[in-house]
């Protein structure tokens, strides 16, 4: 665990290092890693203290104008997408790569030429003992159960266990790189948008938010066949279900019920149940003709123009009502209709008798639509990092040297971690060695 102490750049300390070399050394140093991680943590804290992604009015109600200018200048209103935060992550990626390479180059290169240390070195190790007599290969493999012989020569043998754990840190660091790369891929090639669908409505594009909201075509259409919302007896929402058809090239590809926690997936695009709402459908009888209008939907016939402009669920306890605007010789005028009150649900607009016959509220579904091709890279990173953490912390590397010596043999053990446990195991091994050779 002391790889930094034995790295070549520190050994070569007496020589003057060029600026580039020392910069390279710094970029790959654990010190730089710690500085960067602390900066990333502090930046993230800022992002949770200062409200993110709000409008200017909201900031000005919280902070002075000067503070607000600083906030926008430093991108503190969107910390996690600000240039300096990306720069920190980028530097971290470089540092992580260099750090990992520097640490693992010796292991990857040098693992092959393992040799048994000479007798004096073995006696100097914290765990060793001498035995008399002979041990043969069959004996050794039965004593050292679970160990693998990695070297065998005339002077002795090397046995190892848990070699995998040496690659734990490499795997963890590589996984973090994978997660960062996956995040970057998603950022560059993915998108996230929103689509509102009324029952029966079909759309082929989504709205992408941000500073300049715009529409983005999907390449296929979604049609909302049904939307249901159910509640628990206490009024809390229980389930939102949108029944959606995927339509491409005029053909229905398939139909799916989208729920929270159960998105639709088509061609790498995920469609999530995000929200819902209600819009009123207003049924009017206009001069004997039944017309269903939504809010802000204009009705036009000859010179007659009207539009329900505002719907209220309950007006002064008189029940649902709607404000209608119409044109009287080019001048806009308004009139209220109250659905449940006689005389107020029927009025003459100009000379046309208009009656508000019915109001039904219809649900619409709010779907969040996103594509993230980087997600599989991130998933791979997640799987590898868990495996890496496991082998790094819970598999212990042990090495046992057995060297032939005059009149017997000498055994020494090396452990990097969890040394006390290995000491106990080594004592047991010593007992077994003695049992066989005596």
């Amino acid at each position: 665990m002391s790889a930094t102490k034995s790295n070549p750049s520190e050994k070569a300390a007496p020589q003057e290092k060029s600026f580039v070399e020392s910069l390279q050394g710094f970029l790959a140093s654990i010190k730089f890693a710690i500085i960067l991680l602390v900066c990333i943590a502090l930046g993230s804290i800022l992002g949770t203290i200062i409200k993110q992604g709000a409008g200017p009015d909201e900031y000005l109600s919280l902070y002075s104008e000067g503070t607000y200018r600083i906030i926008t200048l430093l991108g503190l209103n969107d910390v996690y997408h600000s240039p300096w935060f990306f720069a920190l992550l980028f530097l971290f990626a470089i540092n992580l790569t260099l750090c990992t390479l520097r640490r693992f180059m010796p292991i990857l290169k040098g693992d092959k030429k393992s040799s048994i240390p000479d007798e004096s070195a073995m006696v100097g190790m914290p765990m060793n003992f001498r035995g008399r007599g002979d041990v043969n290969d069959a004996n050794l493999s039965s004593i050292l159960k679970g160990y693998r012989c990695t070297y065998s020569g005339p002077e002795g043998m090397i046995f190892q266990k848990g070699s995998l754990s040496k690659y734990g840190v490499l795997l963890i660091h590589t996984s973090i790189m994978l997660i960062l790369i996956g995040g970057f891929v998603g950022l560059v090639t993915g998108f996230k948008g929103f689509m509102v669908l009324h029952k029966g409505e079909m759309k082929n594009s989504i709205t992408i938010g941000g500073e300049q909201p715009h529409e983005k075509p999907l390449g296929f259409s979604l049609k909302c066949k049904d939307f249901q919302v159910s509640f628990y007896p206490n009024g809390a929402p229980k389930d939102y279900v949108s029944t959606v058809e995927v339509i491409e090239g005029g053909q229905t590809i398939f139909e799916k019920q989208i729920r929270v926690n159960d998105p639709l997936n088509y061609k790498g695009i995920h469609v999530y149940q995000a929200s819902y709402g209600k819009t009123p459908s207003l049924v009017f009888n206009i001069g004997g003709e039944r017309v269903t209008l939504k809010e802000r939907e204009t009705f036009r016939k000859d010179n007659f123009v009207m539009m329900p402009i505002r719907f209220e669920q309950n007006i002064h306890n008189f029940g649902p009502g709607v404000m209608v605007v119409y044109l009287d010789q080019g001048e806009p005028r308004t009139v209220w209709f109250l659905k449940n009150i006689e005389r107020f649900n029927e009025k003459n607009i100009l000379t046309v008798p208009v009656r508000l016959e019915d109001v039904h509220e219809e649900f619409y579904t709010g779907l969040s639509v996103s594509k993230d091709p980087g997600v599989w890279i991130v998933w791979a990173g997640f799987a590898f990092i868990l495996f890496g953490l496991y082998i790094n912390f819970f598999i212990y590397f042990r090495r046992i040297y057995v060297r032939n010596s005059t009149g017997g043999y000498i055994v020494a053990g090396v452990a990097m971690k969890n040394k006390e446990v290995f000491k106990e195991e080594f004592e047991r091994l010593r007992g077994r060695f003695n049992g066989i050779s005596s």
């Binding site: 665990m1 002391s2 790889a3 930094t4 654990i30 890693a33 710690i34 991680l37 602390v38 990333i40 943590a41 993230s44 804290i45 992002g47 949770t48 993110q52 996690y80 995040g183 996230k192 628990y232 206490n234 809390a236 929402p237 229980k238 389930d239 939102y240 729920r259 929270v260 926690n261 159960d262 998105p263 995920h270 999530y272 149940q273 995000a274 969040s368 996103s370 993230d372 997600v375 991130v378 998933w379 997640f382 990092i385 868990l386 953490l389 496991y390 912390f393």
Partner: protein, 271 residues
């Protein structure tokens, strides 16, 4: 009052008893008391498990069946359960009453707060759609076991820097237990964040949306990553490591409580 509430009430009293047993141990210093303390802790953990299972069963009886991991009350009780579980699992190393007394005290506080505070809703509530997922179990379990491991690390750090050396385990032991609890907690926290991210991908449409809870869990993760690197790569030991473990736990507490009460976000189930 539901039956599981009565059982959990007894559990709270048992935590109080456990604390008193510790006090008696500090006064009398008899090994037998220590053995008895562990016995009572086993009983308490067992009874608390029964209480949680009964709450689970009762939720099915009233037709909104789900694991008791969904609101603030349930999370407090589950946290105290996790702390006791970690104490029992690490019993061999944690056989120092000056360490376990803190675990028991924190559990007593959590249980007491859960059952007394007027701001905590103790009823079984139905699951909102976002929580209706099997990821709930593994996500909450890994996160809270991590939080519980960090309690052990925090107590070791705290005892390390206290001036009363007489009553506490040797400093090397504290340092060792501190490190060991972090190597248990860190992979668990990683697993908690990862299961949360995968779940978020399916429920919210994005595996990482810089929600305050997510962000603070990342900050906590960074603090413990620094802890491990400082110790393993820079050879930090003793006081510096103790202080890092205290900072780490501060971050854990903020991730668990602070985010819910101070910051608002997607994760506001537990208030």
């Amino acid at each position: 009052m539901a039956f599981h509430h009565k059982i959990l009430g007894v559990v709270t009293l048992l935590y109080l008893c456990l604390f008193l047993i510790h006090v008696i141990y500090f006064a009398a210093r008899k090994e037998k008391i220590k053995t008895f303390m562990w016995f009572v802790l086993y009983v308490t953990l067992g009874l608390q498990t029964v209480g949680l299972i009964l709450r689970w069963v009762e939720s099915y009886q009233i037709g909104i069946g789900h694991a008791p991991l969904s609101n603030f009350y349930e999370s407090l009780i589950f946290y105290s359960w996790c702390i006791s579980l970690i104490l029992v699992v690490m019993k061999k190393r944690l056989n120092y009453p000056s360490l376990t007394v803190f675990g028991v005290l924190i559990s007593l506080f959590l249980m007491g707060y859960a059952s007394i505070s007027p701001s905590v809703d103790r009823n079984i509530q139905p699951l909102v759609p976002a929580l209706q997922s099997n990821w709930l179990h593994i996500h909450v379990l890994t996160c809270f076991l991590a939080y519980a491991s960090f309690v052990v690390s925090f107590v070791c750090g705290l005892l390390y820097i206290t001036p009363w050396k007489k009553f506490i385990p040797p400093q090397e032991t504290l340092d060792d237990i501190n490190y060991r609890s972090v190597i248990v907690g860190f992979p668990l926290l990683s697993a908690g964040i990862i299961t949360g991210a995968v779940w978020a991908h399916y429920a919210w449409g994005s595996y990482w949306s810089w929600d305050p809870k997510e962000t603070w869990s990342l900050i906590t993760w960074i603090v413990y990553a620094l802890f491990l690197h400082a110790r393993l790569m820079r050879g930090w030991k003793g006081k510096k490591i103790a202080i890092l473990s205290i900072i780490g736990f501060g971050s854990v507490i903020f991730t668990y409580f602070g985010v819910n009460f101070i910051l608002s976000g997607l994760h506001s189930y537990a208030t």
